[in-house]
Amino acid sequence: MIKMFINNLEVQAEEGWTIRDACEFYGLEIPTLCYDPGLSNYGGCRLCLVEIGKSPDTKLVSSCTYPCEEGLNVHTDTKRVIKARKMMIELMLSVAPGSKVIQDLASKFGVTQMRFEVRNEECVMCGLCIRMCAEQMDAKAIGFQNRGYKRKISTPFDAKSKVCRECGGCMYVCPACQARCQGPNAEDPVCNACLQMDPTCVDVYGEATCWMYDAGRCGTCVRPPEAESEKQGSVKE
């Protein structure tokens, strides 16, 4: 067993677990997009970021690929994490505003603006389709091609694949194909129809303190934050 700390709690993790596995075990919700329990871990969407290390030498890592280590110090919802996470969602929205999965993420995490030019490509390069095809269906019909901003997913030579089983697995796991968001109208690429409250405890405590995003539980969101002189809780960097 590996002893480590998540959000200041001492926890035990199994050998071979990733930070995400440990968080899931302890009931901490970490948003993911390119993660699927039936497929290998990829770590490309950068949504599952957590902050590790001891201040001031902390850094953000993808929890779905980072292995649990003895003595590791993890924080799942610091200001830095939340800022980065929101920007990732904003970037995803700019490419796939029609995806309900991504619009739901936007509402859940308080992303209310999308400041980039919409590209309507739908594909966010999460690679789930590729891994599904290779690992679950053993077909290996599609894959990543090119690199950088020219990256795409296709069959060899963009031609009809000889090994494709036409199983529909790729469409099944695709966050853009799964369900179309009913929300967005042409003027606004950010739907926010199911917008939840933005956790205000972040400004007070430096991180979100409600683990289940159960707004209202701790009361910070629904009552004004304490004045500086009255504050008793510790403010983390």
Binding site: R147, P156, F157
Partner: protein
């Protein structure tokens, strides 16, 4: 474009038949044919026991490989930082106009390929343009015209 498949065999067989030979084999194919023939890639896939899609991933990832035939003449303009600061972008644009081909592409008649490269390590003599392997140092905008004329003359004498 038709190629002799036994030639492909020869090239592939020169290397250990393992995944680690992937890039060296593709480099040999690219050097010989100036691109990667699809039939050859299928053979590489079988020889190394690597799915074709993975071969394509590698072939499309690296700048050295092209899945489409290159032109008879290859003109590469260096756009490394030092060359950039010395005016390389304007030189590249002038070549586009003079050769009538977009950077990164081959002209429809297959005569010229115009590419840019991030740095050749010859920064002191920049801006650098490489024409069919020959390095031209300290080029200016007007050299695009001169080089094009030289290539066209070569073409005429070959016809």
């Amino acid at each position: 474009m038709l190629h002799d498949q036994t030639e492909f065999e020869d090239i592939i067989q020169k290397h250990p038949q393992e995944k680690r030979s992937m890039i060296p084999i593709l480099q040999d194919l690219q050097a010989k044919y100036n691109y990667l023939p699809p039939v050859a890639l299928n053979m590489v896939s079988q020889a190394l026991d690597v799915p074709l899609i993975d071969i394509i991933s590698v072939a499309s990832f690296y700048n050295a490989f092209s899945l489409e035939p290159k032109g008879e003449h290859q003109i590469t303009v260096c756009i490394g930082t030092a060359c950039h600061v010395r005016g390389a972008p304007l030189i590249l644009e002038e070549f586009e106009r003079k050769l009538d081909v977009e950077a990164g592409h081959t002209r429809n008649d297959g005569k010229y390929s115009l590419d840019s490269v991030a740095c050749l390590g010859c920064c002191a003599i920049g801006p650098v343009v490489v024409v069919d392997g020959e390095y031209h140092a300290q080029t200016g905008i007007r050299d695009a015209g001169k080089i094009t004329k030289m290539l066209e003359k070569k073409e005429k004498t070959n016809d």
